[in-house]
Amino acid sequence: MAKVVPRPELTFWERIYFVEIFKGLATTIGHAARSLLKPETLPTLDYPEVQPDIPRDYRSQHRLMIRPDGESRCVACFMCSTACPARCINIVAEESPDHHIEKRPAKFEIDLLLCVFCGFCVEACPCDAIRMDTKKAVMAGDNRASFVIDKKQMMSWNPKDYPLEDTQSQKAPGGALNAEALAAFKSGDHH
């Protein structure tokens, strides 16, 4: 049963249109005066000089998490590329020199032009190796090849750009928790 929304009945003053125009003019001049005299209340950003504050859980460009020794956390299990609906993740596995870890990616590429930024890869990853919290929401390039990001690009992030509560990021080289994490890692505790 469709719900019928009745048209609002206009009063006499609304129907002659004249008074309402002046009410509208009062509204717009209020906004103009506010923008002119109280610019600090403007909601609009002076983009791109002023960048918007993107929340940490916004699904932005990917990064690969790093172990305390500087290697990638990825074990080349292909879970992310299997989960990917856009098939934009291209992984080539190789044998890991670390005897605790079976495989590692020789190549890890994401085609950002194919990516739909659904975040399934992040959810599929069993090792917390891939994340989408770089806050890089605007990507620009002058050729298609520049949109295919490789392992090196995805691992070149700075732990200082991430909050201290993000312990996994801080365990990477240069992070606040790297020293003790590296000691634990060397002693054989891989988790």
Binding site: I21, I29, A32, E40, L42, T44, E49, V50
Partner: protein, 467 residues
């Protein structure tokens, strides 16, 4: 050369005022639209100067970059267009826009030695307003001719709609203004302004006629809410769909010129032209047995002689007004500077420098204007130099020229205010449907105009104001 010839040349310069105001008008439109929509507005184009100073001029640089772009863009003529008319059409609105201000009085009549009277308009035709209406109505030819010569469906539909609308509203425009001319008894625009200076502004004696005239002027200028000629949602860009580069720029400039002229015309007809006060203020003076209060309020008429008599005060008022405006502008720029300093912006230093530069310029000129105001209030006294010729007080030429300059300033202030009203209404009232526009024009405005004319005629006859 005689003084008269110099004055004629100066008036030729005044005729170009609407054309010179087009960049101001475009800036007003961009910034006004931005501020009404809670945006900061145009901020990209800048002139880089040494020392990291980037002058954006509050968006004024955008106008020049736009102009350069439109001048140097390829001037494309579609193969299906009828070439002669296609090229001729954009010139028509610009030509009429340059011609019409010749009929608007920018200052009151000046009496030279030997009794030569110089009026404040380039052409003081007896037909006055009729010639102005005739000229400004010619701009409809630009729309019709351009749309037809483009040989495109969208253009033709837009042009037809625009021409039908402009012609319809011409009727109520003429009838709406007629009430005022009935009271004045002359079609000469100088006579209209002199009448308003002696009695009261047109907006007070003819409020209905004022609204009729303004509404019709919005339609005449093809402005929102009557801008169906370029209804983007259904007609791409209306009559100038097939125009680009400098030909489009001519249409654009013609349109904005038309707005400035319409504002000047409204200021002349209904806001008293160069008369500073809306009605006889002296009527408020109270006389009792113990004395009279508010007796210092000036007596009408507020014509050129009134301003010449109190020239020092008026120059002082203008300098003080300029000072208040500039210092206010400095304060506003300061607020914007403070806002921008609170951001993590990449061009922090350049912006701070630019804002600081403008604050300094405004503050210095504003303070100079304050000094000028004080000086004018205390030093200028033209009464000592006045002579009496045939029982009429005659002031020396410099006093009369200064008076004329003040009157031009008054007309310009009113014109700019109404330019802002055009922008303000455009960003407030949504576009009307075509049938609604036609219904409003023929079924409402025309009848209101006729009734207004009838009532004005009867009242004028009973009171005995009109001729």
């Amino acid at each position: 050369m005689t003084i008269e010839m110099w004055l004629t040349l100066a008036k030729l310069g005044l005729v170009l005022i609407p054309f010179a105001l087009v960049p101001v008008m475009i800036l007003l439109e961009r910034r006004g639209a931005a501020f009404i929509q809670d945006r900061p507005g145009p901020s990209r184009a800048a002139i880089p100067l040494p020392g990291g100073l980037r002058i954006r001029g509050f968006g004024m640089v955008h106008n020049f970059t736009d102009g350069v772009k439109l001048f140097f863009k390829e001037s494309l003529v579609p193969s299906f267009a009828y070439k002669p008319f296609y090229i001729l059409a954009p010139a028509i609105p610009v030509v009429t826009a340059v011609l019409t201000p010749a009929l608007i009085p920018w200052f009151g009549p000046i009496t030279l030695d030997g009794g030569v009277r110089v009026v404040g308009q380039f052409l003081d035709a007896n037909s006055g307003i009729l010639a102005l209406f005739a000229l400004s109505s010619l701009s409809v030819y630009g729309v019709v001719l351009g749309s037809w010569a483009s040989n495109s469906k969208y253009s033709l539909l837009g042009g037809m709609r625009a021409s039908a609308m402009m012609i319809s509203y011409e009727v109520s425009m003429g009838l709406g203004a007629l009430g005022l001319f009935l009271l004045v008894g002359s079609f000469s625009l100088t006579a209209v302004v002199e009448w308003q200076a002696a009695h009261a502004w047109g907006i007070l004696v003819q409020p209905v006629g004022f609204f009729l005239f303004v509404t019709s002027m919005f339609a005449e200028c093809n402005r929102s809410p009557f801008d169906v000629a370029e209804g983007e949602s259904e007609l791409v860009a209306g009559f100038h769909t097939e125009y680009s580069a400098i030909k489009f720029a001519l249409y654009f400039m013609g349109e904005y010129c038309h707005i400035v002229i319409a504002s000047a015309l409204i200021a002349t007809l209904y806001l008293g032209g160069y008369s500073p006060f809306p009605f006889d203020l002296h009527a408020f003076s109270i006389h009792t047995e113990t004395g009279s209060y508010f007796d210092w309020l000036p007596k009408a008429p507020y014509d050129a002689a009134f301003i010449a008599r109190n020239l020092g005060t008026w120059i002082g008022i203008f300098a003080a007004g300029t000072a208040i405006l500039l210092l206010g502008a400095a304060a506003i720029v300061g607020a914007h500077k403070k806002r921008y300093a609170s951001f993590k912006a990449s061009d922090q230093k350049a912006r701070a420098k630019e804002y600081g530069f403008f604050i300094a310029v405004f503050a210095i000129i504003g303070l100079l204007a304050i000094v000028g105001a004080v000086g004018a209030f205390t030093q200028i006294d033209p009464a000592s130099e006045a002579t009496r010729v045939d029982g009429v007080v005659r002031y020396p030429l410099w006093v009369q020229l200064a008076t004329a300059a003040i009157q031009v300033g008054i007309v310009l202030a009113k014109t700019l205010f109404f330019c802002w009203v055009f922008v303000w209404v455009r960003w407030t009232v949504p576009r009307m449907r075509y049938d609604q526009i036609m219904a409003l024009g023929w079924k409402v405005l025309l009848n209101v105009a006729l009734v207004n004319l009838l009532v004005t005629a009867i009242v004028a006859k009973l009171v005995g104001v009109g001729k």
